[in-house]
């Protein structure tokens, strides 16, 4: 019973076996690969980096990144290759280009609007011109009432 369960687990993850296949890379390549991998999106699960994703394709991409780094390719070259095949979507940090201008400048824009709002709100109202409206009859009456009260002996 136990042997068959273990076998099931192993067979069910044949993809996993194909993955590392005993390949190890020197620590500096590993580190660079992990750093690069964290900024590449897993295209299967679509909200994790290839470093964090459990998908088999992500494992293959991780391996490919390491192989390319070991072969001497630069980080930028590998990222260019991935965006060439998968589009900008594969980059977790969107590049700074015309259609992402609003994304990158947005926060500054919002801050500027907030600052303007703060100043505009707190600017003294005397900046705004008032033409005093004539008082209504009821207002005159209540004012007279108040004046009488104030003049009354305490």
């Amino acid at each position: 019973m136990r042997a068959s369960i273990l076998a099931t687990i192993l067979v069910m993850s044949p993809l996993a076996c194909a993955q590392t296949a005993g390949q190890t890379f020197p620590p500096d390549i590993e580190e660079a690969a992990r750093d690069l991998g964290k900024s590449l999106r897993c295209v299967v699960c679509q909200n994790q980096s290839i470093e964090d994703s459990g998908a088999p394709l992500a494992a293959d991409m991780r391996r490919m990144v390491r192989e390319r780094l070991a072969a001497g390719e630069s980080r930028q070259q590998i990222m260019d290759y991935m965006t060439d095949r998968y589009g900008n979507f594969v980059l977790l940090t969107p590049p700074f280009q015309t259609d992402t201008l609003l994304l990158w400048l947005g926060p500054l824009l919002f801050a500027a609007i907030a600052a303007w709002g703060w100043l505009a709100y707190l600017r003294p109202a005397s900046a705004v011109s008032h033409d005093p409206q004539p008082l209504s009859k009821s207002e005159i009456a209540s004012l007279q009432e108040r004046m009488k009260q104030e003049e009354a002996p305490r």
């Binding site: 136990r2 369960i5 273990l6 099931t8 687990i9 192993l10 069910m12 993850s13 996993a16 076996c17 993955q19 590392t20 296949a21 005993g22 190890t24 590993e30 992990r34 900024s39 999106r41 699960c45 679509q46 909200n47 994790q48 980096s49 964090d52 459990g54 589009g87 900008n88 979507f89 594969v90 980059l91 977790l92 940090t93 969107p94 259609d99 992402t100 609003l102 994304l103 947005g106 926060p107 919002f110 801050a111 907030a114 600052a115 709002g117 703060w118 709100y121 707190l122 109202a125």
Partner: protein, 656 residues
């Protein structure tokens, strides 16, 4: 039979909600007390009926009635009873039912506790809650019927996503909904106030506890969600700026702002217009969050099964509820407008600054979350916005918030002088900067130093505030303690909440700047290292659970030669779902977490293992819990006792 009772109850509830919507609103506009009173009875009826429907659904799960479609799709006879019950809200239909249950609960609470509210206000609030209830119940009945049957009924269910079989996660939706949906009260009160054309201190006294309650639960829900992701998902992260996470975070940010501006309305009769807008905004964000999670518009690690038809309905509800409220706001808010009653440097000024910063932060998160959609619409280009954007854009704003949090509580109401305030905090500023500098240099991280410095500044400002208020050092100790004992609970709440935030800042900084990781492929008996710790694989055992088969790896940990016990991690295989998950081994500690996750076993018997060191990780969630606790403590303050006192001859300060 029970199933059909549930459906009938839902339909009756919708009719009840409709009555609750139409009659009181009509009664309020015509000033007919009898009609207005209908609101309260209808609200209680609505709650009773929805509770009945919910109980029916829960019993279907409890008895594994697979003739009910969602039970068949999401449950399994082998599942433990606890998880069968919590599966009730583990899918779209059941969670929507939970949504309306909480909505009805809050409406009924207004009906039950709001007897002292002015009749027209109460009627209008209940009316608006009724409108919301009607819309959502219609949504459920017509597009998301939880009681839909399957014919023929399967003999076994399709199991449950194994990731969701967890106590923390079971409690996560109810807690979050108490937050999200609780904010509907603020919304209803604001729209009612706009219709009435008046906002007075009683209004604010009434709204604040509800906002605070919702905020507390939302804080708890988000904290728990993050903690769950950390220990369950196996990748050692605690926040990924995933769209669904952002969906709960954005309402929280605005709710925090609302909490503070409502305080200004109550104490100073100022920022009225702004508070009304924030109330509408925060509930709008709740609705948008619901839309996001259920419409399939964005991809996410944990969105529900998606259906664009449902998305259209929810979008229509957003347009109706928020569009309607914001239109009323555009038309009516001007009559409630007041000139500012405070100087820029003042307690109100600080709160306004804090509000604006939180609003900017929300806008940034919103932009990042929806940018892929915007770009797709405008250029058909597909891009993605990952965590590094959010971290970069969001963090500086929080630094601004910390500065305001440090100065704000010290400033006087209405008007204060900037220079004395700065002078008094100068020593603290210097020492916090020094602390930041030292930690940054020692830890070799610029942002680490910045974060620690700001955290220290906030913490120091809190301590200083306490010292000043208790006159510590100026009078003898027993007198200081006496002063401390006279602090009202809301003061303790404020201190706990702000302290919680400082603690979380430390935790987040440490995790972001100083987390370390190493990945290795090791066989039985071999050793992997991380920093000055070694992990030796002692054993690999087969352990089976109720619906999974697992391999458990046990590691012996030692640090610089001295043994530190063991840590275990599991790889679990769930047969019905044909998925494998990793249960990470976590050793939590006050100052650091050890985190071990096992990956696949390769052909030669070596396991891919990831080791992580997480400094101050627990401080993140401890901070969240502390913030929520502070909120609850504040709520228990006698001044917040629900039911505003009826002031005879109260003047409305913002007159129509």
């Amino acid at each position: 039979m029970i199933n059909e009772i549930g459906l009938v109850a839902l339909v009756l509830a919708m009719m009840s909600a409709l009555v609750q919507a139409v009659v009181p609103l009509w009664g309020a506009s015509r000033n007919r007390p009898a009609l207005m009173r209908v609101g309260s009875s209808a609200a209680i009826a609505q709650l009773t009926l929805i509770s009945l429907a919910f109980a029916c659904l829960m019993s279907a799960f409890a008895t594994s009635d697979f003739s009910v479609r969602i039970v068949a799709e999401n449950s399994h006879t082998l599942k433990p009873l606890f998880y069968k019950l919590t599966a009730t809200w583990g899918q779209h239909e059941g969670s929507m039912l939970l949504w309306v249950l909480v909505l009805a609960l809050f409406g009924a609470a207004v009906a039950a506790f709001g007897k002292k509210l002015p009749a027209t206000l109460r009627a209008r609030v209940l009316g608006i809650q009724g409108l919301l209830g009607t819309a959502f119940l219609a949504f459920i009945i017509f597009t998301s019927n939880p009681f839909a049957r399957l014919n023929p009924a399967p003999s076994e269910g399709m199991g449950f996503n194994p990731l969701l079989q967890d106590p923390g996660l079971a409690a996560h939706p109810p807690t979050l909904y108490l937050g999200y949906v609780g904010l509907s009260i603020a919304y209803s009160f604001s729209v009612a106030a706009l219709i009435e054309g008046r906002v007075d201190a009683a209004w604010a006294r009434w709204v604040r506890p509800w906002v605070l309650t919702a905020w507390c639960f939302l804080t708890l829900g988000i904290t728990m969600g993050s903690l769950w992701a950390y220990y369950e998902l196996g990748w050692g992260g605690w926040w990924f700026w995933d769209p669904v996470e952002n969906a709960s975070f954005m309402p929280w940010l605005i709710a925090t702002a609302l909490l503070h501006s409502a305080l200004v309305v109550e104490r100073r009769h100022s920022l009225v217009n702004w508070t009304l807008l924030l109330s509408i905004l925060t509930f709008t964000l709740s609705l948008i969050g619901t839309f996001l999670v259920r419409s399939g518009v964005l991809t996410s690690v944990h969105a529900f099964a998606v259906d664009p038809a449902r998305g259209i309905f929810i979008l229509a509800m957003i347009l109706g509820a928020s569009g309607g409220a914001l239109t009323v706001y555009a038309l009516r808010a001007r009559t409630l407008q007041q000139p500012p009653k405070f100087a820029p440097v003042s307690r109100e000024g600080a709160i306004l600054a804090n509000n604006l910063l939180l609003l900017v932060a929300t806008a940034v998160v919103f932009l990042g979350t929806f940018y892929p959609l915007i770009i797709d619409a405008l250029t058909s280009d597909k891009i993605s916005v990952g965590p590094s954007y959010f971290d970069t854009a969001f963090a500086p704003i929080m630094l601004g918030v910390i500065i305001v949090m440090a100065f704000g509580p010290m400033l006087r109401w209405r008007s204060d002088a900037a220079r004395p305030a700065l002078r008094s905090l100068l020593p603290l500023l210097v020492s916090a900067s020094a602390f930041g500098l030292v930690t940054g240099l020692v830890g070799q991280s610029l942002w680490g130093g910045v974060g620690m410095g700001f955290g220290a500044f906030l913490l120091g400002s809190l301590i200083r505030w306490c010292v000043v208020r208790t006159k510590l050092g100026q009078v003898n100790l027993s007198q200081s303690l006496f002063l401390a004992r006279t602090f009202p609970r809301s003061t303790w709440g404020f201190m706990a909440a702000h302290l919680g935030f400082a603690v979380a800042v430390f935790g987040i900084t440490a995790m972001s700047a100083w987390e370390t990781e190493s990945v290795a492929a090791i066989k039985l008996g071999e050793t992997a290292t991380l920093g000055d710790r070694t992990y030796t694989l002692l054993s690999v055992k087969i352990e089976n659970g109720p619906n999974y088969e697992a391999q458990r790896l046990t590691f012996a940990v030692s640090r610089s030669g001295s043994p530190e016990g063991s840590i275990e991690t599991e790889r679990r295989y769930y047969p019905e779902r044909d998925t494998t998950t990793t249960e990470a081994g976590i050793r939590p500690g006050l100052l650091e977490n050890l985190y071990v996750a096992a990956g696949e076993e390769s052909a030669n018997g070596a396991f891919v293992v990831r080791l992580n060191h997480h400094p101050l990780a627990m401080w993140i969630w401890a901070g969240g819990l502390l913030m929520a606790s502070g909120g609850f403590v504040s709520l228990s303050d006698r001044r917040f006792r629900v039911g505003a006192p009826h002031r005879v001859g109260a003047t409305s300060i913002a007159r129509a």
